[in-house]
Amino acid sequence: MIELAGLTKEYGTRIAVDDLTVTVHPGRVTGFLGPNGSGKTTTMRCVLGLARPTSGTATVLGQPYRALADPMRRVGALIDPRALHPGRTAYRHLLALAQSNGLPGARVDEVIELVGLESVADDRVRGFSLGMNQRLGIAAALLGDPDVLLLDEPVNGLDPEGIRWVRELLRDLADEGRTVLVSSHLMSEMEDTADHLVVLGRGRLLADVPMAELLGAHSAVRVRTPQGPTLADALRRAGGRVELEIDGALRVEGLDLTGVGDVAFLADVRLHELSRVTASLEAAYLALTDDDVEYRAVTP
């Protein structure tokens, strides 16, 4: 469990994280979403005691991170996959980390095998691709078999096979009852992985909702009929918001499938199509963060 209470971090006059209160629960994958610069990494740094909050608190398993007696056995973290000494081999890097927390050397071989880096374990990490660095970072996070995982953009730079592997890994870890917080800007990835979403925009909390609820809130009903204007009027009277789609179908928000079907029956309208349109996470996310994109390209 990760608990943030009024977490605020200012850098000079810039507010990176603004009064964030969130609880990340165990047993599910929590996706941490937000545009670049929205404060995701800063939040994770505060949780790990790497940055000191300006105000508010961040605790892991009920304690401030820096008070944990054996941090790697409780919390595994991947903040920056490039944060490695380039001249050290993958094996020595992991060995030094394992030793610092009194973990057995055999565990190093286990995690190297788990992430599939056996063939390059004795190579200096200088020559690693971003994907290999990610795997090494995930190996480091898993060394202590921790209860809580914080992974910042873990699939960045991975190939499709690697992305699927991370997705399954996160799912398994959550199913084992661990707390998994994973940030990403790849929304399609989150849609397949996360059960719950925490969305940030300019350091503020925009949403803390189950994935299904967020998608549901932005879903709609698509209905096609030869009597469009009649049905549209009936739907509006029933409380729906109706838009005409480009192919002549109606997009209805505010009513569910049953509601739209009943209105059509009562209005004596023939239907050629009645279907649910599930919003993509991308659309839901864009709707949430529309006003909160810090770095937006200017359209000429």
Binding site: Y65, P71, H85, A96
Partner: protein, 245 residues
């Protein structure tokens, strides 16, 4: 998370990068070769301690390798970003710095003991001294121990500067000015004030003498170096605790 575990981890880190092997090679060659040459070039000496002191000459410049090693142990963590990982694994920051310091200190002491013995052997073999260079001679032993102690202290000073400045170039530059450039420069500049400042800087030491600097009696000189090492180290520890990574 016992301190012993952090020490083991730092020991692994120290020996798993090439810079450590380079610093070791430079230190051994600079000290051993110059020591042997200096002893060979000195046919005779009135006292055993003076003969040994001559054979230790290479430590003057060689110690820079220890300063650089000390700086690198901390600064490369920040330059590479590895500090994020290290401080996540060991969130008690002063404990991490202490482990690094103990590892560097051990490295400096062990290596310098070995090299000091080699230099003493060179003096004993190559320089004629009335009565010979005896291993039990208190003056000889003191000269050698002072050399070992001074080497340990400059290693600690390197770690401390690395923690304060976080930048390899900056910390090595400042260290070089403090221990190698400023003391002789001020000594040459002349004047009472310059000489006093020179005496207050942590000049590299060779046995009982400040290297290329205004001479100070060894208790004063060692106290000055120790005060710098401990003072900068404490500053480094405070800054490490307070600053974000």
């Amino acid at each position: 998370m016992p301190f012993r575990a952090v020490l083991r981890s730092e020991w692994t880190k120290l020996w798993s990068v090439r810079s450590t092997w380079w610093c070791t090679a430079i230190y051994v060659v600079a000290v051993g070769a110059s020591g042997w040459l200096a002893a060979a070039g000195t046919d005779s000496s009135p006292q055993a301690a003076v003969a040994v002191q001559t054979a230790l000459t290479g430590f003057g410049v060689g110690q820079l390798a220890l300063v650089v090693l000390g700086v690198l142990v901390v600064s490369t963590e920040f330059a590479s970003g590895m500090a994020l990982v290290s401080l996540t694994a060991v969130p008690r920051r002063t404990r991490l710095l202490l482990a690094k310091t103990v590892v560097v200190l051990t490295y400096c002491l062990v290596l310098t003991v070995l090299l000091a013995v080699v230099c003493a052997l060179a003096a004993r073999t190559l320089t004629a001294v009335p009565g010979g260079v005896q291993p039990g001679d208190p003056d000889v032993v003191r000269t050698l121990l002072l050399q070992v102690g001074a080497a340990g202290l400059v290693g600690v000073l390197g770690v401390a500067l690395g923690a304060v400045l976080r930048s390899t170039a900056g910390a090595v530059g400042i260290a070089a000015v403090l221990v190698l450039v400023a003391p002789p420069a001020l000594a040459l500049a002349g004047g009472d004030l310059a000489a006093r400042i020179s005496q207050g800087l942590p000049a590299l030491r060779v046995g009982e003498d400040a290297f290329l600097a205004v001479a100070t009696p060894w208790p004063v000189g060692m106290s000055v170096v120790a005060a710098w090492a401990v003072g900068v180290w404490l500053l480094g520890a405070v800054l490490l605790e307070r600053r974000d990574v």
